[in-house]
Amino acid sequence: MENPRPEVAQEKEWIERSRNGEPEAFGQLAERYQRRIFSLVYHFIRRPTDVEDMVQEILVKAFVGIRTYNYQASFGTWLSRVAVNHCYDYLRRQRAARVTYYSDMSEERQRQLESRFEQPDPGGLTPEAQIAARDLVGKLLERAKPEDRIILSLKELDGLSADEIGEVLRIKPSNVKVRLHRARKRMLKDLKRLREGK
């Protein structure tokens, strides 16, 4: 029988020890996955000052519920699931709007920016256009429904594949594609509303 890789065996040991109530073992797992969870949480909530607290809350929650982990998915996927659920609740509570550069731009500048995207390749964007595009999308994400925001962040910001998103959200990859398309459509509809000043 083939021996599992040492890091996999080590991880399993940490998981088992955590299940037996050893926080130090869970600390090792936290160290291994903290980067991934930080990235997910930051892309969901986009508040750098709140990220660390939020990740701590997620990890405490994960430790308390680690007995429900049944090795069907990888531990990273399971932890991401806990993070998604936690952030989903947070986003539902907080749907505040942000002041952005885009909304401060004159209509003419907005039109100039949009006209760049008439062509498939808009070429190198100026730093100002980059900031405007980024803030526009930041604002659109904040206005989006929490479920749209989460699926779009997983795909577009964390670069997960449809299969990986499906594992985290516990849905089929085909369903992921449908939801992504709907989320994008809603986002573009919201862009129109934003242009009209609604």
Partner: protein, 161 residues
């Protein structure tokens, strides 16, 4: 080419060079042309967002997580002294209850620790009944009252004792 097909292609690769059929469709379909322009703008913004540096965990983050877990689980987990105290009280309460039940079973059915014996109730009855007898006969028949034996009122035999 259908609009839905064009949207799928646009969403997958917004900045790619489109095939001739897609380009033809975009020339004639204003809805899709607008969709393509808007999605490219949003995709560029998303790309910029994905390039933003993600905040890093501060030094000693994992150790703080462990401490927080210990604090959180300490609240959830009852302290051993608490368990011991509750257990001792439970044992005392069970012993008391057993003692009361045993006393209840062992003590005689009458006596100073019980309710009054059944006979005591009968002691009251003759007075009540005789009072009723007086009211019923009234003062108009004093002779009859004198002539009437006490046994007539019922339960008087016990009352006489």
């Amino acid at each position: 080419m259908r609009c839905e097909e064009v949207w799928t292609i646009l969403e997958e690769e917004p900045t790619a060079e489109f095939s001739p059929p897609v380009r033809e469709h975009l020339k004639v379909c204003r809805t899709c042309a607008a969709y393509a322009r808007d999605w490219r703008l949003v995709a560029a913004g998303l790309h910029e967002l994905s390039r933003e540096p993600v905040p890093e965990a501060s030094w000693g983050f994992a150790a703080r997580v462990v401490r927080r877990i210990e604090e959180a689980t300490a609240i959830l987990r009852p302290r051993p002294e608490f368990v011991e105290q509750v257990g001792r009280r439970f044992v005392y309460a069970t012993l008391m209850l057993t003692l009361v039940l045993l006393l209840g079973l062992l003590l005689p059915s009458s006596g100073p620790l019980r309710s009054p014996a059944a006979d005591d109730y009968y002691l009251v009855r003759p007075e009540t009944v005789s009072a009723r007898a007086e009211v019923a006969l009234g003062e108009e028949f004093p002779d009859l009252q004198e002539a009437m034996p006490l046994t007539f009122t019922g339960g008087s035999e016990r009352g006489d004792r």
